[in-house]
Amino acid sequence: MATRIVIDPITRIEGHLRIEATVDASNTITKAYSSGTMVRGIEKILKGRDPRDAWAFTQRICGVCTTVHSFASIRSVEDALSIKIPKAANLIRNLMIAQQYVHDHVMHFYHLHALDWVDVVSALQADPAQTSAIQSKISSWPKSSPGYFSDVQKKVRTIVDSGQLSIFTNAYWGHPEYKLPPEVNLLAVTHYLEALDWQKDATKIHTIFGGKNPHPNFVVGGVPLPIDLNSDSALNAERLSLIKDSIDKMITFVDQVYLPDLLAIAPFYLKYGSFGEGLGNFLTWGEFPGEDNSDVSKFLVPRAVILNRDLANVQMPDPRDFAKMQEYVAHSWYGYKGGDQTGLHPWQGETNFNYTGPKPPYELLDVERKYSWLKAPRWAETPMEVGPLARVLAMYARGHKQTRELVNLVLSTLNVPITAVFSTLGRTAARAIETKVFADAMRVYYDDLVAEIKAGHTQTFNGNKWEPLTWPRRAQGFGYMEAPRGALGHWIVIANRKIKNYQIVVPTTWNASPRDHKGQAGAYEASLVGTPLAKPEWPLEVLRTIHSFDPCMACAIHMVDTEGKEVGETATGLSVSFR
């Protein structure tokens, strides 16, 4: 009997996500459906507003990967109005973007993803002396004494014993798919707590340049904070040294904790190097521009399309291509004037609500019809995966030296072939690899910024097009951003100095998209097919793969048979997170 598993809510970056999956008699997933169940209509809210304000509105799409929509937004306006930002402003933006990656990826690994692989309760059985030996072997991180790990173990024991706290209770502890020895579990739990403390101070660059985090402030044409070494109200030597210190601490944590932990945990889960990828098609818009924001050839992360895992034939996608960049609504709760079979380029995009789903409260969605608040973006009518794996593949294919070295290091350490990157494990490893690349890049951007200041190039804002009277009557622009979760694009149409149309295609829209007009599954939906479940009432494997994409999620699972009758209820407890 085919069994339908429902996972709801899976909260994602913009809100709430639901997954329904069908499992066959051998407990393997045969079909999966991904549904967004919350909508705010921010694209509708933006119409008629001042394009210079749009960054603040779009930023509120997500408070976890905060900043990413602001970047895409100000770039879309700058593209539309042909505004070139000063070099120092670009370096400051690159620093902010890189910090976002490091902070977000570390938090994802420890607070969202780690407990998919780490059994907290098992850590209570660990011998702290052995954990200490492992720690000393894998890195030079100073917090490594047996007494230290013993203290953490006691803390965890108190929490678990009390039964009152909490964040560690009611999960899948003891699931047969947890494979780590107790000592490694204790190591990871310890770093879970350390990372939570570390991350508080890993947002300093945002706070200095944007005034706060989450949701720092931005400005079209540059950055808000001026540079003046003789002012207490601008970027000066004191602020610069705070930034340098913050960069050093971030790099140390990545080098001595995050990467060694990944390499210590992965060998126990090599099975996940063979499934969980799904589409084999990858897309990036590119990131970390050089001096000229629009010169794609100088990006650190290339703008790339990879089809069928073919790294030898990487194409450069053009986001302005009306025929190839399109969104579909055949299975989405929207209506297009031209009908459900039509695809629309975002500059022509429409956001017309058309809810045809069941009336709440409901048990199951009708997946044969419309079933999600997400549209289905497609590149040349093909579903694409976006995110760390796409970026690392793009950098690898282009021959980026450090990326190649890191990929080869991971492959040789784990003794797996290159094909293993196309998997759940590959996606999780790619996230760590790019964190290292971008963390190191921060040093370069910092040094370049200091060099610019020394040379007297301290301009941070280009106000030539600030006044709306200087704008053309009609303009349209594209704003790119490689958000931590993947390729993000904002398409803006400005008419009579106001926003005429604004369309946003976020990473999770690509990855969590429902089926399209041709019935093609999105990345989450495809990645789950073929996943074997050891204990289907505790579908840990589903969460490992879905979490490897990094949606912000907490899941509810209950199983119902195909008639819609409930046969049991379980909880996942996998998404212990503070997001």
């Binding site: 919350m38 209509g41 507003r49 509105f57 947002t203 706060k212 709440p360 503070f578």
Partner: protein, 376 residues
């Protein structure tokens, strides 16, 4: 574990007495008790406690109370207020969660998720009926049967009402839960509202901001823990200890405002020298919040210090205030006028102050007026 005091719990979690007192000082600081001098306050029994050092006062309160049960619901939110909370410097989230409160349900904070968490929520609502604090993050869209935000197939309004019924108090954190926030911005496509708009029979404390300042949230909770009551609120249900003054009242650029020195553009001479951002559209004069005093990131900075005008994010309808770079604009629609009351009057006075300076921008003045008339 029922009956154990917070101090006992903290001791078990590895806190020393010294660490505990240090923590109490942090709590006292966060809730605005003056650390330098003894204070007078009402104890739990209503007796006035005189001459007690604030840290001791906090310490006494925490030593005798069991932990506060909390249920946290997320609706039309961006998770930014939860995310901000992880950056709370004192008390830190870890301190709070490990020692002061017991989070019975949080969609993304508790390990127990999904149906087990739903069960835990139901159980907690029964066990702690009339005692728990309900925290809400995000707005609620009741329009069209609630289809714009469902969780587990249920509408957000039904989930809110269910949880509100047994709550001792409700904290609406962030502008969305407090006032409807960005989903409510015109044309409010999903019919979003704040908690106060649909729950009228319970005390609701608003901690607005986009996101809320984490210490304003933890400080309000600490106040509840220490004094067993909610702090005094203003007419918009905001705790006066964090929302009693405007950003402008405490702004470090205020002396330049008084001297009539304004930055006219980003990165001009005035901007570099730290002059007032009023002409760039700063909403500090009409915004009641603690950014300028508490600051962000452990006192590191706040938006105006970092060179950007205040957006006014702790005020109702700030998204519809006529443009973030439009000097002195304030929400023009009727409900906003009513709610902003005195704040708007303050803005008008300042508007007169800079009127002269603004005339230099004659070129764009007409355009601005047009856009204002449009109802921007």
């Amino acid at each position: 574990m029922a009956g154990k005091s917070i101090y006992e719990e903290m001791k078990e979690n590895g806190f020393t007495r010294r660490g505990f007192i240090k923590f109490c000082s942090a709590v006292a600081g966060a809730i605005g008790l003056n650390l330098g001098s003894p204070t007078a306050a009402k104890s739990e029994s209503g007796k006035v406690v005189r001459g007690l050092h604030p840290a001791n006062l906090v310490s006494r309160a925490l030593s005798s109370k069991p932990r506060l049960p909390v249920i946290w619901l997320e609706f039309q939110d961006c998770c930014g207020c939860s995310e901000a909370l992880t950056r709370s410097q004192s008390p830190t989230l870890v301190d709070l969660v490990l020692s002061q409160i017991t989070v019975e349900y949080h969609e993304t904070l508790s390990a127990a998720a999904g149906f087990q968490a739903e069960d835990a929520k139901t159980a907690a609502m029964k066990k702690y009926a009339g005692q728990y604090v309900l925290v809400v993050e995000g707005s609620i869209p009741p329009k069209d049967g609630g289809v714009y935000c469902t969780i587990g197939g249920k509408s957000s309004l039904s989930l809110l009402k269910e949880a509100a019924a047994g709550a001792a108090a409700i904290i609406a954190t962030g502008n969305c839960a407090a006032f409807g926030g960005i989903p409510k911005a015109k044309p409010n496509p999903t019919g979003a509202v704040g908690v106060m708009d649909v729950i009228r029979d319970k005390p609701v404390v608003n901690i607005p901001g986009c996101p809320a300042i984490p210490e304003a949230f933890t400080g309000t909770v600490a106040h509840f823990l220490v004094f067993g009551s909610l702090p005094e609120l203003d007419h918009l249900h905001r705790p006066k200890l964090f929302y009693g003054n405007t950003i402008h009242d405490r702004c470090l650029r205020r002396p330049f405002y008084e001297a009539g020195k304004y930055a006219a553009s980003f990165d001009d001479e005035g901007a570099r020298a730290g002059w007032c951002l009023n002409k760039l559209g700063c909403k500090g004069p009409i915004t009641y919040n603690a950014c300028a005093s508490l600051k962000w990131g452990g006192g590191l900075s706040f938006p105006i210090q970092s060179g950007h005008p205040c957006l006014g994010c702790s005020e109702p309808n700030f998204w519809d205030g006529g443009g973030f770079y439009q000097g002195q604009s304030a929400p023009l629609d009727r409900p906003a006028l009513l709610t902003m009351g005195a704040a708007l009057a303050a803005g008008a006075v300042i508007g007169a102050g800079v009127a002269g300076a603004n005339t230099v921008q004659k070129k764009s003045a007409r355009r601005k007026q047009e856009s204002k008339n449009k109802g921007g």
